[in-house]
């Protein structure tokens, strides 16, 4: 317990900060620096827990998305005038794809635009997967506000049980051998015992939770009020979406209204839960620093100033967790028995 990891919400604030920064087209160099920064933070701060793999997976998926974007951009693009680099042969397509032409001249302007857009999406993917690689989901679920508690508990139950079911799938596979079964694909013979096992477990768990006082303090009045506010919030957002799509003035107002209602609804619903929390996750200076740099990052990029000074500042703000975040220690080691 000597070392702790950064609060998962701080990691998410950091990741979202990078994602928002990337979405504001800060320039190619800044995007590349953001990716490098995210990678630096992930590799110096990640744990050896399974979710730490998220970043590597994110890089792979991001690269695939980038490549698809480039390929489509090159062979299916609408020509824009400029410096022709090379010309691809054009291929005719069947009737139902009429009007689309594969190939044609490829200009350097085209390549540049496509690459920047692809890179933006790549950075976005990277930012989210970096946050999910660093934030401990179990601690995150535990830190959810009271209003999300039920959802959090369902997910805590499932995250705890996943390893159990993975071993139980292995066991059931072995059991097939014991029945002399040589069929190669036998979904039913695996699925039925697994489901029976898990349903029995659900029954036992339900009664254990009931008899341990779960749901003791649920009152419904505040909740019902909160739920009406939430309904008006979705209505406002739906109106906002319609206005936005139809390009009618007022979408922003509707969205703003929706968000305010959402916040109020959350607040009201949250007040109606009377649960307490045992040893809540710590939120200290390091967390504040990370959130503050994240906000600074976003406000910096909103200036739309692509000077080299600005770009460097983006990079430095993006890697701020390197300086403040403690490295996740391995306090809960699996203890073999």
């Amino acid at each position: 317990m000597n070392q702790r990891s950064l609060h998962p919400f701080a990691w998410w604030a950091w990741g979202i900060g990078i994602a928002v920064t990337a979405s504001q087209t800060p320039g190619t160099l800044a995007l590349i620096l953001l990716c490098i920064g995210a990678a630096m933070v992930v590799y110096s701060k990640k744990s050896d827990q399974p979710w730490a793999k998220a970043f590597a997976i994110g890089v792979r998926l991001g690269l695939i998305a980038f490549l698809i974007r480039m390929i489509i951009g090159v062979i299916l693009s609408v020509p824009i005038p400029g410096n022709t680099l090379f010309t691809l042969p054009t291929i005719p397509l069947p009737d139902w794809m009429a009007g689309i032409r594969i190939g044609g001249p490829v200009t350097s302007e085209r390549l540049a635009i496509t690459a920047t857009e692809g890179l933006t999406f790549f950075t976005l993917i990277l930012a989210i997967s970096a946050a999910s690689a660093l934030a401990n989901p179990k601690q995150g679920l535990r830190a959810l506000p009271g209003v999300m508690h039920q959802a959090g508990v369902a997910l805590i139950i499932s995250t705890t049980l996943i390893p159990h079911f993975v071993t139980s799938i292995q066991r059931v596979k072995q059991a097939r051998r014991l029945r002399g079964d040589q069929q190669r694909i036998a979904f039913r013979k695996i699925a039925v015992p697994i489901f029976e096992d898990s349903l029995q477990r659900a029954i036992n768990l339900g009664s254990a939770m009931e008899s341990r006082g779960y749901g003791f303090n649920d009152s419904s009045t505040g909740r019902r009020f909160g739920s009406q506010i939430l309904l008006s919030s979705v209505v406002a957002i739906t109106i906002g979406v319609s206005l936005f799509l139809a390009a009618i003035e007022g979408a922003a107002i509707a969205f703003g209204f929706g968000i305010i209602l959402l916040a109020t609804g959350l607040f009201v619903a949250n007040k109606s839960t009377k649960r307490t929390r045992y040893r809540p996750q710590i939120w200290e200076r390091a967390e504040w620093v990370v959130v503050a740099t994240s906000i600074a990052l976003i406000s910096l990029v909103l200036y739309e100033n692509q000077s080299i000074f600005n770009t460097l500042s983006i990079f430095i703000l993006a890697i701020s967790p390197l300086f403040v975040a403690p490295k996740e220690s391995l306090k809960i080691r699996e203890v073999a028995h």
Binding site: G73, L155, T160, H164, F187, L205, G206, T238, L245
Partner: protein, 262 residues
Amino acid sequence: MKTMNKSTPLLGFASIIGFFAFAWPLFISAEQVENNGQAKYLFLALMPIALLILVIELTQGDLDVKSLAFLGVLTATGAALRIFGAGAIGVEPIWFLIILGGRALGKRFGFLLGLSILFASALLTGGAGPWLAFQMMAAAWIGWGAGALPKFAKQRVEITVLAIYGFFAGLIFGALMDLQLWPWLVGADTQISFIAGAPILENLHRYLIFHFLTAMAWDIPRAILTATLILVAGKPILNSLRRSMRKANFIPAHEMKQKAVL
């Protein structure tokens, strides 16, 4: 004698937001064309907000202890099947689970199950990306739909219908995910990009070409797999779900408001 559940309107509106978050390129008007860049990000942000509201509403109001336990345990089973699935059973048998779970435990439970399975497995196995909220919403609809299908007198009919439903659910999920990626993967200026303000059908045509060129080849095996799994193991699993609900005296509070009076 079904009464409308109080969370129905919210579910409806949030789903409308979700639908537009997927399909906005088909509907956006030409005047918003300069805002294209923003639209992508706007809807990327709206989807998690819609999900947040949904989750709060569905878990705060109606979820009793048993539903919660079933939800947690089935989510774990689904995520375990997903982790394990790749090697042994085939590609992601989670659709099978979401559809049967929604079928046996009702549409609202199916909705939640879709959300939680995708969320839990993405968080724990990596693969969480900007698309996660979209995957969750699509999976939730699939679970809801399985619960909303009418009752069938014969179980054989039920299984067949579910298999067909599973087939189309597999295709539609792929199509929705690709629709969501469309503006990101092709930008605004290729021959298969959407044209803001163009008739819906024209944009749909362009989208289908994009879908055909990119991901459709992956959707068909998934659709076939889901349908096959339902045909092979649907009956025993559905029966065991229903049997354990009886055993636990479990009527999801979502589905029926009157309590068994003892």
